[in-house]
């Protein structure tokens, strides 16, 4: 069989975190009673006029600047005409030949290799409503709360060569949108959605193969599986001499396969034309500068800075910068206690473990940087052993109290008083004469046994290093 090359381009729809919809003042809050966030405009009543939300343009410029796009000086809306019950007007207001931003890029890294993925365009548009199909009766139900919620559509160049590259691109884009605070990135709730154009061609062939469009992949895992499935399907078709049919396919996560979408062949005849109800938007340098001034440190820059400023390994910088809030939390801890690597370790293991178990973000930990730094300071100054610190941390998480008060209340301070440790060792040695004799006879591996017994006797409080040294001293004397 000949080798095939995979060509993938992605279209991402990101729901914007604005207060109100793109063309009317209805709220964008998710999960309210159906059809309560609707008005004459987003229900498409005759005679109404849309008015563009300034914040939507702001969001688009922001993403454009962060992806190296050029922001078009004059941007225009267009009508995309099609009939579907979740689109009350019979057309979607979107952008066609004058998108807000174009010609940018995102940098990704797969298997240690860096790659630049082109972005063709970023444009503004309105979301459609939500359709629910009745299981038994031939009915569909429509909720228009989502109709008119602002979206940015981000179209990549067909630069992606594998499902792994595609998923990495999506992860990088999602993180960027979240850093810019323009999208919450929630894939399950549909605020970050992606469609993929996939084709394969024999290696070396210049002309692209016939592509299919994949929809309905609502997690990174599904994107991965759906793309692998589609690539395999197309290669199998070509290998046996068949051709790929240009069509839209829906991923069925339950069956682990994609199926062609049933639609009329005319459905892609959208008859775009300039939206007469909206005037052109002129974006001047002053507006762009105003937005540029609000740009936060971007994820890639933050990673690089964490590596140089704090001397953290690449893995740590990646984990800590997975959200702006987590990265800020880390830096606030470091400001209080200058031990970046200890703090990083504690956040990556204990803190993230608790958050994962609870399904929460760092903001809902119930403990702030002073509490975490306070706990780690106790370990560093030798007041608390690493083992007991985990216990104290669980208690802190449960009660919201600080480490110091828990340690003194429970009497968990590490025992570093030589005399008292010697007393404990004395007792252990007297209780185990046989082991003492064997140790002195050359079985020095028994040291660990004595340390364990001393720890048990002091309920884990004895300073382990000191205990080690003292036991050796006493046995060797």
């Amino acid at each position: 069989m000949r080798d095939f090359e995979v060509v993938i381009g992605l279209e991402v729809h990101a729901q914007l975190r604005t207060q109100s919809k793109i063309f009317c003042s209805c709220s964008t809050v998710f999960g309210l009673e159906p059809n309560t966030n609707t008005c004459e405009v987003c229900l498409g009543m005759p005679g109404v006029l849309p008015v563009l939300n300034r914040a939507v343009v702001d969001c688009g410029i922001k993403l454009g600047l962060a992806t190296g796009c050029s922001v078009e000086p004059v941007t225009v809306f267009a009508r995309k005409n099609y009939f579907y019950p979740d689109l009350p007007k019979g057309y979607q207001i979107t952008q066609y030949d004058h998108p807000l931003c174009s010609n940018g890029h995102l940098d990704i890294e797969v298997g240690g290799e860096k790659k630049r993925i082109g972005i063709v365009r970023i444009h503004m548009e309105e979301d459609a409503g939500k359709t629910i199909h009745d299981e038994d009766k031939p009915l569909s139900f429509i909720d228009f709360n989502r109709a008119g919620v602002p979206l940015l559509e981000i179209v990549s160049r067909p630069d992606l060569r594998s499902s792994s590259e595609a998923v990495e691109y999506l992860k990088v884009l999602r993180l960027l949108l979240m850093y810019l605070e323009i999208c919450d990135g929630n894939m399950e709730e549909g605020s970050f959605r992606c469609d993929a154009n996939v084709s394969v061609k024999p290696v070396g062939q210049q002309v692209l193969g016939i592509r299919t469009e994949l929809k309905n992949m609502n997690s990174f895992r599904n994107v991965h599986k759906a793309l692998d499935y589609e690539v395999r399907r197309q290669i199998e078709l070509l290998a046996k001499g068949d051709t790929v049919v240009q069509e839209t396919r829906l991923w069925n996560a339950a069956l682990n396969e994609s199926q062609p979408m049933r639609s009329k062949e005319e459905s892609h005849d959208y008859r775009y034309f300039p939206e007469p109800d909206l005037v052109p938007v002129v974006v001047d340098e002053a507006w762009i500068d105003e937005i540029r001034a609000t740009l936060p440190e971007l994820p890639s820059d933050k990673r690089a800075r964490f590596a140089t400023t704090y001397g953290l390994p690449s893995y740590d910088t990646e984990v800590l910068t997975q959200s702006r809030a987590l990265a800020d939390f880390f830096e606030q801890c470091v400001e209080i206690l200058d031990s970046p690597k200890d703090i990083s370790n504690w956040i990556m293991t204990e803190v993230l473990h608790v958050l994962k178990v609870r399904g929460k973000g760092i903001g809902q930990l119930g403990l702030g940087p002073p509490e975490i730094a306070g706990l780690l300071a106790l370990i560093r100054e030798g007041t608390l052993s690493g083992t007991l610190a985990k216990e104290v941390f669980s208690e802190m998480v449960a009660s919201g109290r600080d480490a110091h008060s828990i340690v003194s209340e429970k009497g968990l301070e590490q025992l570093s008083d030589k005399e008292r440790i010697r007393e404990a060792i004395e007792v252990v040695l007297n209780e185990h004469p046989k082991e003492v004799a064997r140790y002195r006879g050359g079985k020095t591996q028994l040291l660990g046994f004595f340390v364990g017994q001393v720890m048990k006797a002091t309920r884990g409080k004895a300073n382990p290093n000191l205990t080690n040294t003292l036991i050796r001293e006493m046995l060797d004397s």
């Binding site: 109100s20 003042s25 008015v51 139900f141 938007v281």
Partner: protein, 95 residues
Amino acid sequence: MKITEADVRHVAGLARLTLGEAEIPRFIRELNSILDHMDMLSALDTQGLESTVHTGSITNSLRDDEARISQSREQAMANAPEFMNGVFVVPKVLE
């Protein structure tokens, strides 16, 4: 003749219009006369002119991002042929 009978039927289908057989020749004629008019415009030299995307002279008609109370659900459903448990009910559509 640029517009054929097939074009008229196609466009009517896209717009969900049911045309009587007798209406089709009329639309062929009318749509062609519109295109003939466009041909006159196409004949003009528009080199160096920017394309007109809007006939108004204003730009940047924007509003601030403030959410306001929407209309009541009763108002939303007032014109709907069928409404049940807060949602609009339509004949089944399949993707």
